[in-house]
């Protein structure tokens, strides 16, 4: 099992894309964290007055999460794209080992990137202009809701990455692993909500089970979607189970 971990670790470390995307992710978190501090109005009543919790919620902004999901999609996407999955499975015919190794390394990577992001945001906050961060302010988030607990930010990032990871494994396609969750989050779910408004909420049943909307509702503590956390976790776990079955049984 250790060998499978080492294999996966060497696999992701040895391609330049991992380092470039990780760098872009950190840069995006720093930029989005600094944005309300430096460009927002700090007068009383301004929605841009930040608190520390809000600042540490920055990794949950959509752009940064999508960047993180690129690495998740690469776990299987690169392997199928370049045929190395056949080398991998020749070395590890017990496929569950590779699945466990890939999932674990991804989880470690996501945790590590969040820790780095929070450290960087700590520095950003430390050097922020006076009055930009007020401890008892409501706090600002890019999703519009109230700042979430940090464990929720981490779990949301990990869950979104697991969706990208699963989609790329199911479709055996790197691009689809990135694009399908992205299109759901940025276009499709909004479109369905818009259509639901036009048809007098007749599609409420569909809106209630949309994956990313439920994830964001759970993160921000919104009451609009009941059982948001449950539905989001069903999506994440369901896709992962499909991945497990398909990866174990399909031809490499």
């Amino acid at each position: 099992m250790i060998a499978a971990f080492v294999y996966e670790l060497r696999r992701i470390r040895s391609v330049r894309a991992t380092w470039i995307v990780s760098g872009l992710y950190l840069a995006s978190v720093i930029a989005f964290g600094a944005l309300p501090l430096y460009l927002g109005s700090h007068e009383a009543g301004s929605p841009f007055i930040q608190n520390w919790k809000g600042l540490y919620n920055t990794p949950a902004n959509f752009f940064s999460v999508v960047l993180l999901s690129v690495i998740a999609a690469q776990s299987f996407g690169h392997e199928y794209r370049y045929g190395t999955i056949r080398l991998t499975l020749s070395e590890f015919p017990k496929r569950e080992r590779i699945l466990v190794a890939k999932t674990s390394i991804l989880a470690i990577y996501v945790v590590l990137m969040h820790l780095l992001a929070w450290s960087a945001l700590g520095l950003v906050g430390k050097f922020a202009p006076t009055g930009a961060i007020i401890s008892n302010a409501e706090g600002f988030t890019f999703s519009g809701g109230a700042p979430a607990d940090l464990w929720k930010v981490l779990v949301y990032g990990l869950a979104y990455c697991l969706i990208a990871f699963s989609v790329s494994a199911i479709t055996r396609n790197l691009a689809l692993g990135i694009v399908i969750p992205l299109v759901f989050a940025s276009v499709l779910e909004g479109l369905i909500m818009g259509i639901n408004g036009l048809v007098h909420q007749r599609l409420n049943w569909l809106v209630d089970i949309l994956p990313i909307s439920n994830g964001q509702a759970w993160l921000s503590g919104s009451k609009d979607l009941p059982h948001a956390g449950l539905i989001f976790s069903v999506w994440v776990i369901g896709l992962f189970l499909i991945t497990t079955v398909m990866f174990s049984r399909r031809d490499a």
């Binding site: 060998a3 499978a4 080492v6 294999y7 060497r10 696999r11 040895s14 391609v15 330049r16 894309a17 690169h78 370049y82 045929g83 190395t84 056949r86 080398l87 499975l89 020749s90 070395e91 590890f92 015919p93 017990k94 049984r249 399909r250 031809d251 490499a252």
Partner: protein, 317 residues
């Protein structure tokens, strides 16, 4: 290590890619794996490695591959020259593959030197030629010095010197008691390399035997003769019941006989010989005889030779 393949079977929708295939690969020998395009060679190899799902079993010294640990000390496979990330350096690629067998940097450098890639070890293989990519794939397969080497078309894209090197390497690898199972379309090369042959067509086993046994399946060897006394020799050969065909103005081809026999007859008949050459069947001859009409993808479709010529002459191409 002996490999026993039992009743491998695989279907892709309506195509029966591998049809109840059973054979053995003996240790200490190079076993060639032959078949026309689309005959199921690569699928068979993937089934043997557990990469594809199908029925049947492949046992390595009596055990399934998953019961061997570490796997890379048991089998090294090279299935495609392009199985690498184009941006991962050749050395990093091998370092990744070394994780399971826990071989160190020294062995990685050794293998890179062995396949002649030490000068490009830190380069990205995206720009490698097919020959260089084949060498990198081979390096990955032999990294942990496995008991079995399984190679799918490893000579594709190699220059003649590299092909000779590969042949010598595989022979010496097998001479250490290891098994080498290799597929190739280069039949002349296979004749020089393989001790045993497994031949399939349309997923079915055609032959699994030693190279001499396979060559003995030929429909006969012949002797090519040139002589200024054509009629006298023709009469002498026919008197002995030897079938003779004319070949040019001064040539004959005597069927199913040997040079010794023809030489003796010519001496006794007082006939002068200018040339006496044995023509034994090549692997290519026997392979083509055995697999005739068994190709799924024939050049020129099912048309006859004369049809094809007529089409070309008529400008149909």
């Amino acid at each position: 290590m002996r490999i026993d393949v039992h009743n491998l079977d695989k279907r892709f929708k309506s195509t029966h890619a591998v049809n109840d295939l059973s054979f053995a690969v003996e240790p200490g020998r190079v076993t060639g794996f032959l078949g026309p395009n689309g005959s199921g060679k690569s699928t068979t190899m993937r089934l043997m490695l557990g990469l594809d799902t199908g029925s049947g079993a492949t046992l390595y010294d009596g055990k399934p591959l998953t019961d061997h640990d570490p796997i890379t000390k048991t089998i090294g496979a090279h299935l495609d020259a392009k199985f690498f990330h184009p941006k991962r350096t050749a050395r990093a690629h091998l370092k990744m593959l070394a994780a399971e067998s826990r071989v160190g940097n020294k062995r990685i450098d050794e293998v890179l030197e062995l396949v002649g890639l030490e000068s490009v070890a830190r380069k990205r293989p995206g720009g490698f030629s097919l020959g260089m990519a084949q060498r990198l794939g081979l390096a990955g397969a032999i990294l942990a010095e496995p008991q079995v080497l399984m190679l799918d078309e490893p000579a594709n894209g190699l220059d003649p010197q590299s092909i000779q090197w590969l042949r010598d390497f595989l022979k010496s690898y097998a001479s250490l008691g290891r098994s080498v199972f290799v597929s190739s379309h280069l039949l002349n090369e296979m004749q020089l390399l393989a001790d045993d042959l497994v031949v399939i067509a349309r997923g079915k086993l055609i032959a699994a035997e030693t190279m001499p046994e396979f060559l003995a399946r030929s429909q006969g060897s012949s002797v090519r003769i040139r002589t200024p006394q054509l009629t006298a020799l023709q009469d002498a050969l026919r008197a002995e019941g030897i079938n003779v065909e004319a070949s040019g103005a001064t040539g004959l081809v005597a069927m199913n006989t040997t040079t010794d026999h023809v030489g003796n007859l010519a001496f006794r008949a007082g006939v002068q010989l200018s040339e006496l050459t044995a023509h034994t069947a090549s692997l290519e001859d026997v392979f083509l005889q055995l697999t005739e009409g068994q190709q799924d993808y024939q050049i020129g479709g099912t048309s006859t030779e004369s049809d094809s010529v007529a089409s070309i002459e008529g400008g149909a191409l």
